[in-house]
Amino acid sequence: MNSDEAKIPGLWHGLRSIVRRDLLLAWKRPGDMLNPLFFFAMVSALFPLAVGPSAEQLAISGPGVLWVAALLAALLSLNSLFLNDYEDGSLDQIILSPQPLPLLALGKSVSHWLVSGLPLVIVSPLVAMTFRMPVETVGVLMVTLVFGTISLSLLGSIGAALTVGLNRGNALLSLLILPLAMPVLIFGARTVSLAAADDAVAAGIYFLAAYCMLAITFAPFAAAAALKISNE
């Protein structure tokens, strides 16, 4: 019994190995990583085309447009969060593994963020420049996007876990997650707007950071419970 227990790798090791595995898988299929980025850029491009190229208008709508585009891009990639694992059966292995499931769900969220959220944050200044966003505001945009996309990856892991294995899961996932993601969108977009107007941004950033902490603490447990239910 004792020797068996000794063989179970530590928590940190479990977390690290699931993240590394997912990153390797993502590396072999770069489409998964690039599609949300292209989507983000394209949605952002749609708005000037639809609304018109006037500089003042773009400056006003820029923060909101970028945030909506980021939210949709994050949603787009969420569907596949557990889907591949579900289809090839490795989700059963993950659930049966001796590691606590919430930890592994956290690992999935972390790798999802590294693959889809982080590139989006990195690309966002480029897109923001086309909206004539001043440099200081771009900094605020990136900070809000960091906290926001982490929160979305975690929140989305709950929705992805609930809808994995369902037909029409993708549309359902958006329906479940979008209302819950509203606070992130509100604070994210508003804080960037405030920054653009040279107003105080600390409150919004603190809120996003707090939301992010809350999501890190609770979302993995909810996602783990949901995974167990959908995979039984």
Partner: protein, 250 residues
């Protein structure tokens, strides 16, 4: 006490008992709502700022209150069902969602009708309460969509329970964020519903309406839970006996 609760939770007993309670709740609801409507429409004095348009709050406020009550009922019973694996609790959660959606819709519609003469527009994004109600409606839709997408009842119960609880954690955050967002908005000056100096003649009809609507909600909820119970217990002996009494003799 535990024995009583256990007995209450047994489906056949609940099915019988609820049939006896529903008429009482309905009569009570009717009485309170009738008094509230008549007093609210004809006897309460017109508001000095809003005139007679303020009478809409006698249906708007109870509807908004029920939309919250229904979500609370849904989340609490979903939690009970998830933790103690109580089937009746899941049935309550399933029954509360469509009712909650109806009353949320009513709150939105009456709020919008009230807004038209007050703000000069059917929809005012700057009003945090309307916006919160709208998000609430989306939450109900999501819950019902998830439930509808899963065929297996037991699985649907547990999956939607997780969603209801996640939503319950998020609702205060959503309200807070919408409040914060609208506080930055230089919108039209909103007339506070009720206001500080509310006179008893205005207050009593509102209280009666809230009590009446709560009773109505209880009656509707019980009626819906009864059909849920019947469906979930469709393969049991007591349902067979209930629906096919002729078989009893054979």
């Amino acid at each position: 006490m535990w024995k009583f609760l256990h007995k209450l939770a047994s489906p056949p007993h609940f099915y019988d008992l609820s049939a006896k309670i529903i008429p009482w709740f309905s009569v009570g609801a009717l009485a309170f709502i009738a008094y509230g409507t008549i007093a609210g429409l004809f006897f309460a004095p017109a508001d000095y700022q809003q005139g007679d348009a303020f009478r809409i709050i006698y249906v708007h406020v109870p509807a908004a209150y029920l939309s919250m009550l229904a979500y609370t009922a849904m989340a609490v019973s979903a939690g009970i069902g998830l933790i103690w694996r109580m089937k009746l609790a899941h049935a309550v959660a399933a029954a509360a969602a469509p009712l909650g959606a109806w009353f949320t819709f009513l709150a939105l519609a009456t709020g919008s009708i009230w807004g038209r003469p007050m703000w000069g527009t059917w929809w005012e994004w700057g009003d945090p309460r309307l916006t919160s109600e709208l998000i609430m409606l989306f939450l109900y839709f999501g819950y019902m969509a998830l439930r509808g997408a899963i065929d297996d009842t037991a699985k649907a119960d547990r999956a939607s329970a997780v969603l209801a609880l996640v939503g319950a954690v998020n609702i205060p955050i959503i309200h807070f964020s919408v409040e914060w967002w609208s506080s930055l908005h230089q919108g039209p000056t909103l007339v506070r519903e009720g206001g500080p100096a509310i006179v008893p003649a205005m207050m009593y009809p509102l209280l009666a309406m809230i009590i009446g609507f709560s009773l109505l909600f209880a009656a509707l909820l019980l009626a819906r839970v009864r059909s849920e119970v019947l469906y979930r217990e469709r393969r049991t002996h007591w349902v067979r006996k209930l629906l096919m009494p002729s078989e009893e003799s054979t």
